[in-house]
């Protein structure tokens, strides 16, 4: 999705901070566990060793695991609000870690490597039970879908995201993709190199056409673009009904998009 030697220019720290305050950018490469809303049970041959429950969930005492898949499902429905339940056999975890490290690392970049590891987990490895089934998402999107979509675009092409807050640009992001990968990450400041007046842009979803025209001229033909209100974008990231929510926001004048709803 993102080329390893991606060029990053005109990315001010403030803009970057705004972006990462919304999007879980770092998790793509960071393997350290966060504190997700996941109930985890570790056992060895059925005997429970450790239980990790997120705050606020009262988990019944469990000492023995006989049917991990069934137990995971039961707990998931018994404790509404959990993202998932995972029941893990200790030796199987070691085996999973071993398999990940035996993957062919030489031709991989970090993104490929992480995806291969996720695929291993999705293949229902023996001794590791997940309910719902393991499926790795990145900011609410299936990473594989995003990669496929990006790879299917014209070569080259550009993408634009503008988030507006209180009538001022809060976040802008321009991506240039070529040969199926993102090769340039920048912001609207980049257009100033070509004497495009960018101060205060975008101020509202109505600026979409003008911004897209400049990007088309100086970066690449625009494949998709979105300018929306901050609250709309925050909601879109986690929404299960992104298309519907975006349509509604557009109808309310809170979003304007190109190439996303067609």
């Amino acid at each position: 999705m993102i080329a390893r030697d991606v060029e990053i220019v005109d990315l001010r720290p403030g803009i970057w901070r705004n972006l990462i305050s919304l999007m879980d950018v770092s998790r793509l490469s960071d393997v350290r566990p966060a504190r997700p809303n996941i109930l985890s049970i570790l056992h060895h041959g059925g005997k429970v060793l450790r239980v990790y429950a997120p705050a606020g969930f009262r988990v019944p005492t469990i000492e023995q695991v006989d049917d991990p898949q069934e137990l995971a499902k039961k707990l998931y429905y018994q404790l509404p609000g959990l993202e998932s339940v995972q029941i893990l056999e200790q030796d199987s975890l070691m085996l999973f870690s071993d398999q990940v490290q035996r993957m062919d690392w030489m031709p991989s970049d970090m993104e490929d490597f992480a995806l291969h590891a996720f695929h291993l987990a999705e293949q229902d490895p023996a001794g590791l039970s997940f309910f719902p089934p393991f499926s790795w998402k990145w900011n609410g999107f299936l990473l594989e879908e995003v990669r496929t979509w990006l790879a299917s675009g014209p070569d080259p092409c550009a993408y634009f995201l503008g988030v507006v807050r209180d009538g001022a640009p809060w976040l802008t992001l321009i991506l240039r993709a070529a040969e199926k990968k993102v090769r340039l990450i920048t912001t609207i400041d980049y257009l100033a190199r070509f004497n495009v007046p960018v101060e205060g842009l975008p101020a509202s979803p109505k600026d979409l056409a003008a911004v897209c025209e400049s990007i088309h001229t100086h970066v690449a033909p625009v494949r998709a673009a979105l300018i929306c209100d901050y609250m709309v974008f925050a909601k879109l990231l986690t929404s299960e009904e992104k298309r519907r929510d975006l349509t509604l926001a557009a109808a309310d004048g809170l979003a304007s998009s190109f190439g996303l709803l067609e």
Binding site: R32, P33, Y52, F96
Partner: protein
């Protein structure tokens, strides 16, 4: 030697110069840009630059090296000549590991694709690093093949480096490697199980125990030779006497690192590289990175520390710097983030960067290299952009800082500190040893890290696993909190600290549990004998380091409280309930605050400076109670004030006041 490093700083021909540098990676830029970049660096007040020399970049084919002969961008000699011309000194980091967003961490793929150099996990898989730009197999510290390859690189590099060493050239220091602790994979049973490492483990045991019978006595085993011993792959102790093998495995990792750096240092020396050597150490405390042990080595002058400043986590920054100050000959932050990688979850604003830098200074940082002063690839927030232009909001900070540091002699000053908190190596080793499995990569599927820990009821009065500095509520954390609350500044060190160094402090706090090496106990008692005040707790050791009955401390004091010992005192302090009685009138800072949310330290030198930090996110107000006149010199009112001074200080801000004696 023309160059010398000691606790007072860096000396060139007897002249002290501040070790204050910024990174510029020559190979990232066109040679046409080099003069501009060096000029910009100087304009920001720097006279020293630092650059990695990536092995994989310069090795253009098997055994074929390019230092600018073919590709001018790799022209290290030309770059160093330009430094000389510009009057700039240089620190080089020839690796072998450099990181820096380089493919395979800067190693040539040719070298690390060879399974003979790999560190192996307990299941025999290559230990892969995924912390850097591309995944790669971590080389083993034990691999002779790897060292042989490193030697070939150093053979090629040495002529360039030797001819550019001070005083003939600008190179004044060589930093070896980066992140010197298994590339962050420090879990006890994660790696290194490669055959050469297992052989070294057996050698280590043989050196430690001598005759195999001695080991059998400690392990309760019946080995006839060291070659029969296997490395433990998880902690399966069920009684206290089972522990030594696991603790030995953790201690062996320290030995492995130390041995590697001694070998590496020797390789530099053998090739005529005579400038001081340093280690760009990781941001971890104690085992497996034996900072003090490494500095005792003849070849290694300095161990630095990496700091990624996060203004919202002031306690972590302060703790790192206190440890650096308490353990390093010269408190040198070898990599102080100036901006951050684009993939990092946080990039500081200039205000936050200022807060982090001054917070580090106030707790003892005395030498520093700002990482990516000139912007690297995929980097955000550096003061100098890739084309050599200033990023003004960040450049301004450095333009103001350097004259301030120079005017008040900050780098020549030292933090006033008479109290030391010591990490117990044995407790930290135990914390690592009591672990069941390697959890590398389990984070990908979001497995809680606690799943690698075990809670074994081994019958200790005090659970040693809960006494690590990493454990919330541990005695050592309580000691730190207590000292901060009573406004006593302290340094952190570890139990490998030598007695003569400890004797520079009035009071030492030491965490203890049921077991402790008897010689270590004697060393701490001698500190009291010499006139110091030893405070220890929460346990009273009754076992030695091999879990045999025996105690030195218990023979000296049996019940909680304080008693005279030689020229000093010892206090057995199970809890901090009555700890306030330990604080004598001369201990707290000579300037006191009435706002517990603020922190204050004093650095003394040609000027006496008070550093006052507000680590909170809101404005704070405090009275500074001082018997001396004070004048603000940074973020504080400039008029001289006497008596008690009331000051307001903004969120995440450091004020500096000069004491006018």
């Amino acid at each position: 030697m023309a160059i010398r490093v000691d606790s007072n700083g860096l000396y060139l021909d007897g002249r002290r110069i501040p070790l204050y540098s910024g990174s510029v990676h020559y190979w990232r830029y066109s040679p046409n840009t080099w003069p501009t970049l060096l000029e910009r660096i100087k304009e920001l007040g720097f006279e020293i630059i630092q650059s990695p020399v990536p092995w994989g970049l310069h090795e253009s084919g098997p055994g074929i090296f390019d230092f600018g002969e073919k590709n001018p961008q790799k022209g290290l000699p030309q770059f160093l000549d330009l430094c000389t011309k510009a009057g700039i000194l240089a620190i080089l980091r020839p690796g072998p590991f450099v990181g820096e967003d380089m493919p395979f961490g800067g190693f040539p793929l040719r070298v690390i694709r060879n399974s003979a150099v790999w560190a192996l996990t307990s299941t025999g898989a290559p230990a892969l690093s995924t912390r850097y730009a591309t995944p790669f197999a971590i080389p083993s510290y034990a691999s002779e093949r790897f060292l042989h390859e490193v030697g070939k690189f150093l053979d090629a590099l040495a002529p360039v480096l030797v001819s550019h060493q001070y005083p003939d050239g600008p190179v004044i220091l060589c930093q070896m490697n980066k992140e010197s602790a298994f590339m962050g994979r420090t879990q006890a049973y994660d790696l290194d199980y490669c055959p050469e490492s297992i052989t070294l483990f057996r050698n280590f045991l043989s050196e430690k125990y001598g005759a195999i019978e001695n080991l059998n006595t400690v392990y309760a085993t019946k080995y006839s030779a060291y070659s029969e011993i296997s490395a433990p792959k998880r902690c399966e102790a069920t009684v206290q006497r089972d522990l030594p093998v696991y603790l030995d495995w953790v201690e062996y990792k320290e030995y492995l690192i130390r041995r590697f750096y001694q070998r590496l240092g020797g390789m530099f020396r053998d090739r005529g590289i005579s400038v001081p050597l340093s280690i760009d150490g990781p941001s971890i405390f104690s085992t497996p990175m034996d900072s003090i042990g490494l500095q005792k080595s003849l070849e290694i002058t300095l161990t630095g520390m990496e700091v990624d400043p996060n203004s919202s986590d002031y306690p972590a920054l302060a703790r790192q710097i206190r440890y650096l100050t308490g353990t390093s000959k010269l408190p040198f932050v070898s990599k102080f983030g100036s901006g951050n990688s684009w993939f990092a979850p946080r990039v500081n604003t200039p205000h936050e960067e200022e807060f982090a830098i001054l917070s580090a200074v106030m707790h003892g940082m005395t030498a520093v290299n700002f990482h990516m002063l000139a912007e690297g690839d995929r980097w955000v927030g550096a003061p100098i952009s890739r084309d050599g232009a200033f990023r003004e909001e960040f450049a301004d900070l450095f333009r103001h800082l350097q004259p301030f540091f120079a005017k008040y002699g900050v780098w020549e000053s030292k933090k006033n500190c008479r109290t030391l908190v010591v990490l117990s190596y044995e407790l930290e080793r135990y914390h690592l040893a009591v672990s069941t499995m390697n959890y590398a990569y389990l984070g990908l599927i979001r497995i809680p890290a606690i799943f690698s820990e075990v809670s074994i009821p081994l019958g200790f009065q005090i659970d040693p696993a809960r006494q690590s500095i990493y454990e919330e509520g541990s005695w050592i954390q309580e000691a730190c909190r207590f000292l901060e609350n009573v406004q006593v500044e302290y340094n952190l060190s570890d139990s490998h600290q030598e007695l003569d160094e400890m004797a520079k402090y009035d009071m030492v706090f030491l965490p203890t549990a049921d077991f402790m090496d008897l010689r270590e106990q004697e060393k701490f008692l001698e500190f009291a004998d010499r006139g110091g005040h030893l405070v220890f707790g929460p346990g009273l050791p009754t076992l030695d380091g091999r879990m045999n009955p025996g105690s030195v401390l218990k023979n000296a004091i049996q019940i909680p409280g304080t008693q005279t010992r030689g020229a000093g005192k010892i206090t057995y302090l199970p809890t901090f309930d009555a700890a306030k009685e330990l604080i004598t009138a001369d201990m707290p800072n000579v300037v006191l605050l009435d706002n517990p949310n603020l922190r204050l330290t004093i650095r003394g030198g040609s000027s006496n400076l008070i550093f006052l930090a507000n680590p909170t996110g809101v404005n704070q107000r405090s009275m500074m109670i001082s018997s001396w006149p004070l004048r603000g010199v940074w973020n504080a009112p400039e008029e001289t004030q006497t008596g008690s001074v009331t000051t307001e200080i903004g969120p995440h801000t450091v004020q500096v006041w000069e004491v006018l004696k």
